[in-house]
């Protein structure tokens, strides 16, 4: 049986990727509100996902305020698909 992607097998990182799956782009505040994570922790996890190439992070200034927006990459989408397939396989064997 394949091993679950360790990068996705974490509560907050999986939540971020799942949120980004259904939207084209989401900003930091949106992700923070939906995941109920702290700003510091969310930043760290976004960096990890970005470094792995699972998400694209864009930083810009909008109306004098910094804005961080994120979107899922093709690599991230494929990783989530593989992760879900792996989960199904695992749960299928257990149940």
């Amino acid at each position: 049986m394949k091993e679950l992607d360790p990068l996705l097998h974490s509560q907050l990182r999986l939540a971020i990727i799942s949120l980004l799956l259904s939207v084209e782009e989401a900003d930091f505040n949106y992700l923070k509100e939906k995941t109920e994570a702290t700003s510091g922790n969310l930043s760290i996890q976004l960096d990890k996902l970005s470094n792995a190439g699972y998400i694209n992070v864009r930083k810009e200034i909008v109306g004098k305020k910094p804005r961080t927006s994120c979107c899922l990459t093709e690599k991230g989408r494929e990783a989530l698909n593989a992760y879900v397939a792996c989960l199904k396989e695992y749960l299928g064997k257990v149940m």
């Binding site: 974490s10 509560q11 949120l19 259904s22 939207v23 782009e25 900003d27 909008v62 109306g63 989960l87």
Partner: protein, 201 residues
Amino acid sequence: MEDKKINEMESLELISDMIRKTKSEASMKQDYNAFLFYGYFTMLVSVTVWLFTLFTGEREYAFIWFAMFIPYLWTNFIGKQKGVEVVTYLKSSLGSIWKVIGSMFGLTVIAIVAIGVIVGKIDFSLMMPLSIIYAGIGTSMTGLVIKEKWFVWLPLMGLLAAVYMLLTGKYDNSWNLLFGLSFLVFMVIPAHIVRSKIQES
């Protein structure tokens, strides 16, 4: 939420929970303010131009119609200032539709001026039926995307005004009222119907 390990069952639950959380944005259950803003603004300009033309007899007051670019510029400016928290695929598609429609308005103005300079007569009267057609197509396409039949079919009623203008071919003051009326039919009325449906649900 923290950076902690979860079991397989919790993972699946988390994925479906997060997807569910984004559904409220994806379902387009917004308040349709943009349609009401454009619709009522058009009606205001429509009555203003009609009254000025009626009491002065000067058809040059039709140039007040250029105020129609104000809500377009305003919504773009405000959108950029505020920034948006989330862009759904639905919002993105609708944005693209209205970007094309907006470009058609702009290009028509440029074409009328450029061709007018060449032929020696700049006549903006054609802008009115064309604008009804453009805005009607945009509203219908929006209706198809968001699956709201009021937005799909009522623009066809508005198109009657455009066909009337094209057939008569000669601008008169009634066109101004007709223009506002058509926006009432295909923007304001469906927006209110859909808003009330959302509030009821």
